[in-house]
C-alpha cells in the first residue's frame, strides 16, 4: 500500500479530503434528466441513448434538456421541444399515432390470433371421430393365409 501513499503525495491539489460531492449541482434535476435521457436517442450514434452517449451533439442536447428542466418545463413539453426539431426518431418509446398503432397493438393481436388458432386446432382435434373401417372378405382371407404360414413356420 506504500505506493498508494506515494501517489497521494504526488497528486497536486490535495486539499481537505471528505465526502465526495455529487457531480450534478441539483440531484433532483439530474434525476429528471436521467429519466428523460434514457428514453431519448442520440442522433449521431449507432443506437445509444442520450444518457449514455459521449458525442458532442448528445452533450449539447443534455445541456438543453437541463436548461428546460431548470425552467420548470414539464416532461411532455421537453419531449415536444425535441420532437419538433428532430421528429419522432429521437424517441425510443414510439408515440401513439395512426402509423404506430399496429406496432403497439400488434403483439396483442398476435397473441389473440395465436390463442384463437390454438383453440381451433384443439377443437378440431377433439371433433375427429375414429373412422369405421370394416374388414373386407379379401382382407380376411389374406389374414388367414398369413396366420397359417406363421403356424407352419414358412
Amino acid at each position: 500500500m506504500r505506493w498508494l501513499a506515494l501517489i497521494v503525495l504526488l497528486t497536486p491539489g490535495l486539499g481537505w479530503a471528505g465526502e465526495a460531492k455529487l457531480l450534478a449541482g441539483d440531484p433532483a434535476a439530474e434525476a429528471r434528466l436521467k429519466h428523460l435521457a434514457v428514453e431519448l436517442r442520440c442522433l449521431v450514434c449507432q443506437n445509444q441513448t442520450l444518457a449514455d452517449s459521449n458525442a458532442p451533439l448528445a452533450e449539447d442536447l443534455r445541456r438543453e434538456v437541463r436548461e428546460m428542466i431548470a425552467k420548470n418545463m414539464s416532461d411532455e413539453e421537453i419531449i415536444d421541444f425535441l420532437v419538433q426539431r428532430y421528429g419522432d426518431f429521437v424517441l425510443y418509446r414510439p408515440p401513439w399515432k395512426a402509423t404506430t398503432t399496429l406496432l403497439w397493438v400488434g403483439p396483442f393481436l398476435l397473441l389473440g390470433a395465436g390463442a384463437a388458432a390454438l383453440v381451433v386446432a384443439l377443437r378440431r382435434r377433439a371433433q375427429r371421430q375414429p373412422v369405421e373401417m370394416p374388414v373386407t372378405d379379401e382382407e380376411r382371407r389374406r389374414v388367414e393365409q398369413l396366420l397359417s404360414q406363421r403356424r407352419t413356420g414358412s
Partner: protein, 663 residues
C-alpha cells in the same frame, strides 16, 4: 502464398459443396446408393478444406501479414497475439469464414454420430447442409473475400476496434455461431423429413439432441454477449434490445419452442407439422439475423460495415433457402398425419400454449425490430423503437408462459384434470404469492414489478419441488437419494434448465429493483458510500499498455470499517484508432457487484466518477449458464448414451414407436 492457399481451399470447398448439395439428395430421391454415399466423405472433405482456409487466415494474422487487406484493416503490430487471432472474426469477411467453418464442424459431427440414421435421411441432411454452405462459400468468394490482397502491403494495420480487444471477443462469437449455425442441423433434419415424407416420432428422437446442443451453445453465446456488454461498455447495462441483440434472441425463442415441441413429437408423435415449421423458423431467423447485421438496413453498435451488394446477395440467399423450405413445407406438410390425440387440458395442450406464447414473443420482437424499416419503406417517416417498447411488450407475454412452466411438468400426457392440478399446486401457489408480496417489504422497497418478478421465480421453484415429489412418489426405493438418482437425466436437465430461468428472473428483478447509481466528482481522498460500501478515491496514475495509454484510478472499498477490495478502473486511449475507452472496474460477488467507472479528469487531480451497487446482477448470467447446463444434462440422458454405444458397436437400431419412457 499462405493466403492464396486459403483462398484456393475455399474454391475447392465450394466445388465439394456443390457435389454434396446435389448428388446425395438426388440419390435419396431415386434410391441410388452410390450417390447417397457421397454425402459423408464430401462433408468431411469440406470440413478439412474450410479448416485449412481458416488456419491460413489465422496464420496471416499471427504473422502480421499486412499484405492481406482484411488483416491490415483489423490488426496491428502492437496487438497482442490472442486478440490478433480473435480478430479473425472481428469484421464481416472473417466472421463469415467463421460461420462457414462452424457449419462444416457441425457437418463433420453429423457424419460421426449418424450411423443409426437410415441412409436416405443422412444423405438428405448432409445434402441440405451442403447447399447452405454452398451459399456462404459463394458469398465469400464473390463479394466478401477474406484473402483479398492489399498491394502494396500496409506498413502497419488499422488495429482492432478497442471495444473488441477483450476476452469476450475470444469467446462470444464462436459460442454464438455454434448456436446459430447449429440450428442448421435441426433445419436439415426437418427438410430431410419433408423430402422423404417420413415424419414420425423417430425423426424427432434423432433430431432432439442436435437441437438441444445447439440451443445450449446459443444460450451461452447470448449470455456471454450480455456479460461482455455489461463490463465493457462502462455504463452497467446488459441488454438494450438492439437490433443485433434481437437478431440472436429471436432464434433462441424459436429454438426454445422447438425443443419443447420436439419433446411432444418424440414422446407422443404429436405436433409433427408444427415442429417441422419451428425447425425451419429457427434457422430462418438465424439467417435473417445474418442479413440484418451485415446489410445496413438497421443501425446498431454491432453492425458490420456495409455494402449494398452484400445485402442484396444475402437477401437473395435468404429468399431461396427460406422461400424454398416454406414452399416444400406448404407442399408436403398437408400429407403428414396427426399424431396421438390429446384433450383440451393435458400436458400436450400446455406445451402447445407455451409454444404459442414463445412464438408470439418472438413475433413481437421481430415486429419491433423491423417496424422502423416498415414505416420508412412505406414513406411514413422515421421512428425509433427501443427498450421502452420491448420491455412493455415482452414481460406481459412471458408471464403466462412462466406460469405454465409450473403446471406443464405436472400435468399428465393426453388427459389431465384441472381440479387435480389445482389441488396439487395449491401450496406452491400460496407460498409463492405470500412470499412475493412480503419479501420486497422486508428488503425495504415494494413495487408491483418487484413482486411479480419474485412471484414468477418462486413459482418455478415451488412447482419444481412439487414435481420432484410427485415423480419420486411413483418410485419404490430404499432411500430418497436413490429414488432421486433413479430419475432420468432428461428430467433433471429440465429441472435444472427451468431453475436457471428462475435464477435469471431473480437477477433481473433484484437489479432493476434495487440497484443504486451515483455520479460524483471525487478529489483524491474523497469517500462515497453506496449500498453499505464505502469507496475512497486514492488518485490516478498513468499506465502504459501494449497498444494503449491509460489513466488508472485506484479505489479502496471498505464495509463496516473492514477492507473489502481495491478497484482499478481505467480510461484508455488507443493511439492507432484514435479512440478512448472506459474500462470499468468490477468487484463481483454472489449477491452483488460493485462497479466503478471513470468519467473525465477534472481540475486538481480530481475525476468525475460513476459508482454502482448492483445486487444479484451475476444471477442473470448464472441463470443462463444453468439453463445451458440443464440442456447438456438432458442430452446426456441414458437413451442417447445407449444409442451412442449401440452405434459404436455398429448394431442397427430400428425405431420402435411402441417404446414408452418414464420421463
Amino acid at each position: 502464398m499462405i493466403p492464396e492457399v486459403g483462398h484456393y481451399a475455399l474454391i475447392l470447398a465450394l466445388c465439394v459443396a456443390v457435389v454434396q448439395g446435389s448428388l446425395p439428395i438426388y440419390g435419396a430421391a431415386v434410391g441410388h446408393s452410390t450417390f447417397m454415399s457421397v454425402a459423408k466423405p464430401a462433408a468431411r472433405t469440406q470440413f478439412l478444406l474450410v479448416l485449412i482456409a481458416f488456419s491460413c487466415l489465422g496464420y496471416a494474422f499471427a504473422e502480421m501479414d499486412f499484405s492481406v487487406l482484411y488483416v491490415a484493416a483489423n490488426a496491428n503490430s502492437k496487438l497482442p497475439l490472442h486478440y490478433r487471432l480473435a480478430a479473425i472474426w472481428g469484421a464481416h469477411e472473417g466472421s463469415l469464414l467463421l460461420w462457414t467453418f462452424i457449419l462444416t464442424v457441425w457437418m463433420f459431427a453429423v457424419t460421426l454420430f449418424s450411423a443409426h440414421l437410415p441412409e436416405t435421411m443422412r444423405a438428405r441432411i448432409l445434402g441440405v447442409m451442403g447447399l447452405v454452405s454452398m451459399g456462404f462459400l459463394l458469398f465469400m468468394l464473390t463479394v466478401s473475400n477474406p484473402f483479398e490482397r492489399l498491394i502494396p502491403a500496409a506498413l502497419d494495420g488499422r488495429d482492432l476496434n478497442p471495444l473488441l480487444q477483450d476476452p469476450g471477443m475470444v469467446m462470444h462469437p464462436p459460442m454464438l455461431y455454434m448456436g446459430y449455425v447449429g440450428f442448421s442441423v435441426a433445419f436439415a433434419f426437418a427438410i430431410a423429413a419433408l423430402l422423404g415424407g417420413n415424419l414420425d416420432a423417430a425423426w424427432a428422437r434423432w433430431s432432439r439432441p442436435w437441437t438441444t446442443v445447439a440451443w445450449c451453445f446459443l444460450t451461452v453465446g447470448i449470455a456471454l454477449g450480455s456479460g461482455w456488454a455489461y463490463y465493457e461498455l462502462g455504463w452497467g447495462g446488459w441488454w438494450f434490445w438492439d437490433p443485433v441483440e434481437n437478431a440472436s434472441f429471436m432464434p433462441w425463442l424459436a429454438g426454445t419452442a422447438l425443443i419443447h415441441s420436439l419433446a411432444v413429437t418424440d414422446k407422443r408423435g404429436g405436433f409433427k407439422v408444427w415442429t417441422v415449421l419451428l425447425a425451419i423458423m429457427a434457422f430462418s431467423l438465424s439467417l435473417l439475423g445474418t442479413f440484418l447485421v451485415r446489410s445496413g438496413v438497421l443501425t446498431s453498435v454491432h453492425a458490420f460495415a456495409t455494402d449494398p451488394k452484400r445485402g442484396l446477395f444475402i437477401l437473395a440467399f435468404l429468399a431461396v433457402v427460406i422461400g424454398g423450405s416454406l414452399l416444400l413445407y406448404a407442399w408436403r406438410a398437408p400429407r403428414v398425419g396427426l399424431g396421438g390425440g390429446f384433450e383440451l387440458v393435458s400436458r400436450e395442450s400446455m406445451l402447445l400454449a407455451n409454444n404459442v406464447l414463445l412464438i408470439v414473443a418472438m413475433g413481437s420482437v421481430l415486429l419491433g425490430t423491423l417496424y422502423p424499416l416498415f414505416l420508412d419503406a412505406l414513406g411514413f417517416g422515421k421512428i425509433s423503437v427501443g427498450p421502452p417498447y420491448f420491455d412493455t411488450v415482452f414481460v406481459p407475454l412471458m408471464t403466462p408462459a412462466i406460469f405454465l412452466m409450473g403446471i406443464g411438468p405436472i400435468a399428465q400426457w393426453k388427459k389431465a384434470s384441472l381440479p387435480n392440478l389445482a389441488m396439487q399446486l395449491r401450496w406452491a401457489f400460496a407460498a409463492s404469492v405470500v412470499t412475493a408480496l412480503l419479501l420486497p417489504l422486508v428488503l425495504g422497497k415494494w413495487t408491483p414489478l418487484l413482486s411479480l418478478g419474485l412471484l414468477l421465480a418462486l413459482w418455478i421453484v415451488t412447482t419444481t419441488v412439487v414435481s420432484v415429489r410427485e415423480r419420486v412418489s411413483h418410485l419404490v426405493g430404499n432411500s430418497l437419494v436413490s429414488c432421486l438418482a433413479a430419475l432420468p437425466r432428461a428430467y433433471w436437465g429440465m429441472v435444472l434448465a427451468h431453475c436457471g430461468i428462475a435464477i435469471f428472473i431473480v437477477g433481473v428483478t433484484m437489479v432493476k429493483g434495487f440497484e443504486v447509481e451515483k455520479d460524483l466528482q471525487m478529489n483524491v481522498g474523497d469517500t462515497a458510500t453506496i449500498g453499505g460500501y464505502t469507496f475512497r478515491f486514492d488518485g490516478a496514475q498513468e499506465v502504459k499498455g501494449p497498444n494503449y495509454l491509460a489513466a488508472r484510478g485506484s479505489f479502496s472499498v471498505t464495509r463496516n470499517g473492514q477492507e473489502v477490495t481495491v478497484m482499478y478502473p481505467e480510461k484508455r486511449f488507443y493511439a492507432v484508432q484514435n479512440q478512448s475507452m472506459t474500462e470499468a472496474a468490477i468487484d463481483s460477488g454472489l449477491f452483488r457487484d460493485l462497479y466503478v467507472s471513470l468519467g473525465e479528469p477534472l481540475e486538481g487531480g480530481a475525476w468525475s466518477v460513476r459508482l454502482y451497487h448492483k445486487p444479484f446482477v451475476d444471477w442473470i448470467w448464472g441463470g443462463c449458464l444453468t439453463m445451458a447446463l440443464g440442456g447438456l444434462l438432458a442430452v446426456s440422458d441414458r437413451r442417447y448414451r445407449l444409442a451412442w454405444r449401440r452405434e459404436r458397436r455398429e448394431e442397427p437400431v430400428a425405431p420402435s414407436p411402441l417404446k414408452t419412457s418414464v420421463a
